[in-house]
């Protein structure tokens, strides 16, 4: 099932919230850069960089891909 939604209508509806979310994201990254010290070695920073790469990829399942970046791996043979 999917709603027959039109891309332009969807962009019209989400334009201002999306613009605001991107500026907030940019300002948050700037805030971290401006602060003293470095997070280059922090695993979370690497997850954020991977997520940013997903945002500019053409696939339509970006949310799922980013969820998986922030997930611990599953071991199929987890039972003792």
């Amino acid at each position: 099932m999917s709603m027959p939604s039109n891309a332009v209508e969807t962009l019209n509806r989400d334009w201002l919230p999306l613009r605001a979310a991107l500026i907030d994201l940019a300002a948050t990254l700037d805030r971290i850069d401006r602060a003293e010290g470095s997070v280059d070695e922090d695993a979370r920073w690497a997850q954020i960089q991977q997520s940013l790469a997903v945002l500019s990829a053409p696939e339509a399942n970006r949310a799922e891909q980013i969820q998986l970046i922030f997930s611990l791996p599953y071991e199929p043979n987890w039972r003792p």
Binding site: M1, S2, M3, S5, A63, E64, Q67, S71, L72, Y74
Partner: protein, 268 residues
């Protein structure tokens, strides 16, 4: 629009919340037993909590015309001590027979430890030996994907499981198909910052369809919104979804899932 919130922790909410929920159209709620924000000191604390969920909260909700149901269980966060969990589990059968109890929940995993799994296996066995329905709490944040798959592995290994009588709750973009593809109901929780939100739930409805989806607030003692389900109604309207799809999500689906318990009576 009338709605049912199939997962909310009324014990943690104020009377003002109940009043505004009723005004927004809430007709029934289901409250799973959970972690109250602190570890209980003994079995008696659980006993009293189960009494609260089966005696006091139904009365408090009835004052606002809201039917209150509950699920009995020991949550994953307090399940690490398997011996203690056994004592709590021994309390469950007498409460499961109470007239507003729907089954066993919310049970599941938190940090996915061996002890959590051991307690969970006891709870699943109790549920299946009695033919009870179940609601599963899937872990938070980075543990969710792994924990959801572990829960599904445990259930897949037991032939007594009827997926139509089980809800895998707190599903998000990376776990919802795992639950639906094996025939389970998928709960989606609208909880600020750490879980889904109304907009993303509508995206999921558009991607996987409304069948076997349950929208819930899981509103509790943390920052959360007891009006999250009506917020979904508004989001869906804004995006042009028909009344029938919205009504299915917030009414027909919970009635169909919860109604599999003989203790549930759909509000008329």
């Amino acid at each position: 629009m009338d709605f049912i919130d199939p997962h909310i922790h009324i014990a943690s909410r104020t009377t003002d919340d109940l009043a505004v929920m009723a005004k927004m159209g809430c007709r029934a709620v289901a409250e799973p037993a959970f972690w109250m924000g602190y570890d209980r000191s003994g079995v008696n604390s659980f006993h009293d909590y189960f009494r609260q969920l089966t005696e006091w909260e139904p009365r408090r909700c009835a004052n606002f015309g809201i039917d209150h149901y509950s699920w009995m269980g020991i949550n994953a966060k307090e399940a690490e001590d398997v011996g203690f969990s056994r004592e709590v589990i021994a309390e469950l059968p007498s409460f499961l027979d109470r007239p507003t109890v729907l089954g066993i929940g919310e049970i599941g995993l938190h940090k996915c430890t061996r002890n959590e799994v051991a307690t969970l296996e006891l709870l699943i066995d109790l549920a299946l030996s009695r033919g009870e329905m179940m609601v599963f709490h899937t872990p938070h944040l980075e543990d969710k994907y792994k924990g959801t798959r572990m829960i599904l592995d445990l259930l897949r290994g037991d032939r007594r499981v009827d997926p139509a009588r089980v809800c895998i709750d707190h599903c998000e973009e990376h776990t919802i198909r795992l639950a639906l593809e094996e025939g389970y109901w998928a709960g989606v929780t609208l909880y600020p910052v750490t879980k889904a939100n109304p907009r993303r739930l509508v995206d999921l409805v558009e991607m996987v369809g409304p069948d076997r989806l349950l929208a819930n607030s899981s509103a509790d003692w943390g920052p959360s919104d007891p009006l999250a389900v009506p917020e979904v109604v508004a989001s869906m309207r804004r995006r042009g979804h028909p009344f029938s799809t919205i009504h299915q999500l917030v009414w027909d689906n919970p009635v169909a899932f919860l109604g599999q318990s003989a203790h549930f009576h759909a509000p008329i």
